[in-house]
Amino acid sequence: MLQLENVTVRFGGLTAVNQVSLSVGSGDVVGLVGANGAGKTTLFNAISGLARAGGRIVFDGRDVLRSPMYQRARMGIGRTFQIPQPMHELTVRQNLTVAQRFGTGGTDMRRIDEILEFTNLSAKAGRDAATGLALSELKALEVAKALATNPKLLLLDEVLAGLETNGKRHFMNMLKQMHDTFKVGILIIEHDIETISNLCQRVAVLNFGQLIAEGTPAEVFNDPEVVKSYTGAEHA
């Protein structure tokens, strides 16, 4: 469903993503890991259209390199931001209404209720999105918004970061359920190895913008190259 071929992102003299090739099929849950600054979010930016990239990005059989962000969203690329970006001045429900209306072209109130229920936001549906939610709820809203656009691919950028253990566990369950219920392909950035091992069939490792390993969680996390790249980050 998603094919990245030699994707490169440059900012002036800095190459943030260097010739990355990766595929995500429509049932897959693929993890994307790497030390801070390895280029993971930048890769997401390239896929969703926030950053200009070189190479080929093929989604659903179409080359989307020239498509603007909003078009990619309508085609089915959903994405959450690391720092939640709710739509200000709107309630939680309105956030979803807008996302659904523009992401799918139609309105389906039942589905919105479904998503609210699923992300545990039903009680907060009428709250102001920017000011009335706790961090875990903001993160849930990020996911809910993306779901409202009926995505075929979900890019999740560190949705668990900043949550305490209970929140994390709840989210993990939600993500597992999401994959089963909504049949989306997921590409997920996380730092927590346990989470990744639990959720993903495949893991890709970025280091300084380059893909240095790809395989099952067990393979990847025992790879000495990968461990080396992480030294100083988690496995000191």
Binding site: S48, Q94, A99, T107
Partner: protein, 317 residues
């Protein structure tokens, strides 16, 4: 919901009571009509600011284009007046399309670019003598016609027409505001990406708001021309049509729909009845002072200030 209960009596009041009570007093009716014209412009300005997120210092461009379009259509091409007014709105849209490239400029630059456009149109109107009659202007522009035995060319008739125009525009504004498009527009001011990432085409929506705003302003300009029956470039593109609506909208509170209308009536009436008698020339000076004072004291308008004041009193009690 409470608002709708007030709506019927309010509509009755403005449509029936006002003409009944003031209809014979030409002076009062003139004041009311003029303040509604200002209100119409203020509304279109506020719509662009609120939903489009663009502050414009050049709405006189749309007003003038609408005025000239309607005048030329009725006088040189025999188009019926009401139709001409609609087409004038379309002409304003065309002029706005010319401004679309300016959308990519950031706030202050956009405001000034629109100002420059307004100047351009004024100069064009002055120089394109064959069509616009140049600086001498156009006289004897047709009045609003007789339809279904109502003479819309009379003071009361004019009043009813501009009232309807303004109310329809207010309703449209409200409709847009409540729609998903309105929601998206409001959201994109704080975060461009939050809306783009869910499929909103920000640029298109903002552009549409410019077109809607220009249409409204153009139609009001066209109405005005058939009301005063005379037109010349310095009047049509006067900075008066920039300043007064801005002061009106900010004074009344540009974030609401009623704000610009209330502001227009209050500001215009005070300006005409009070200030003009004290300072005949340069009475706009007071407008400037009001504007400056409002921005510093209460940029959300006088009503917001009053509400804040009342809340403080409630808290103290």
């Amino acid at each position: 919901m409470k608002q709708y209960k007030l709506l019927i009596p309010a509509l009755l009041a403005v449509y029936v009571a006002v003409p009944l009570v003031f209809g014979s007093d030409n002076y009062v009716m003139s004041l009311v009509i003029a303040s509604l014209v200002i209100g119409g412009i203020a509304l279109s300005w506020a719509l662009l600011g609120n939903l489009g997120g663009m502050v414009s210092f050049g709405h006189s461009a749309f007003f003038g284009v609408g005025a000239y379009a309607s005048a030329v259509l009725t006088m040189q091409h025999g188009v019926p007046v009401f139709l001409a007014m609609l087409l004038a709105g379309v002409a304003a849209i065309v002029s706005a399309i010319l401004m679309l490239p300016v959308l990519r400029l950031r706030g202050p630059y956009f405001a000034l670019a629109i100002l420059a456009y307004a100047h351009i149109f004024r100069i064009l109107a002055t120089e394109w003598t064959s069509v616009t009659g140049g600086s001498a202007g156009i006289a004897n522009i047709p009045r609003l016609p007789l339809v279904a035995s109502i003479d819309f060319g009379s003071k009361t008739g004019n009043y009813l027409v501009i009232l309807t125009i303004v109310l329809v525009f207010a309703a449209v504004y409200d409709m847009i505001r409540r729609s998903p498009h309105g929601l998206a527009l409001r959201a994109m001011h704080d975060s461009d990406d939050a809306t783009r990432v869910v499929g909103v085409n920000n640029t298109l929506l903002k552009g549409l708001m410019l077109l809607v705003s220009s249409f409204m302003c153009g139609v009001v300009g066209a109405f005005n021309v058939h009301y005063i029956n005379f037109l010349e470039p310095d009047y049509a593109f006067s900075t008066l049509w920039v300043t007064i609506p801005i002061v009106a909208a900010i004074f009344g509170g540009y974030r609401t729909i009623t704000g610009p209308l209330v502001g227009a009536v209050v500001v215009y009436l005070v300006d005409q009845l009070v200030v003009k008698s004290i300072i005949p020339t340069g009475h706009q000076l007071v407008l400037g002072v009001v504007l400056v004072a409002m921005i510093i004291a209460s940029p959300d308008g006088l009503l917001a200030l009053v509400r804040k004041f009342m809340r403080k009193n409630d808290a103290a009690a």
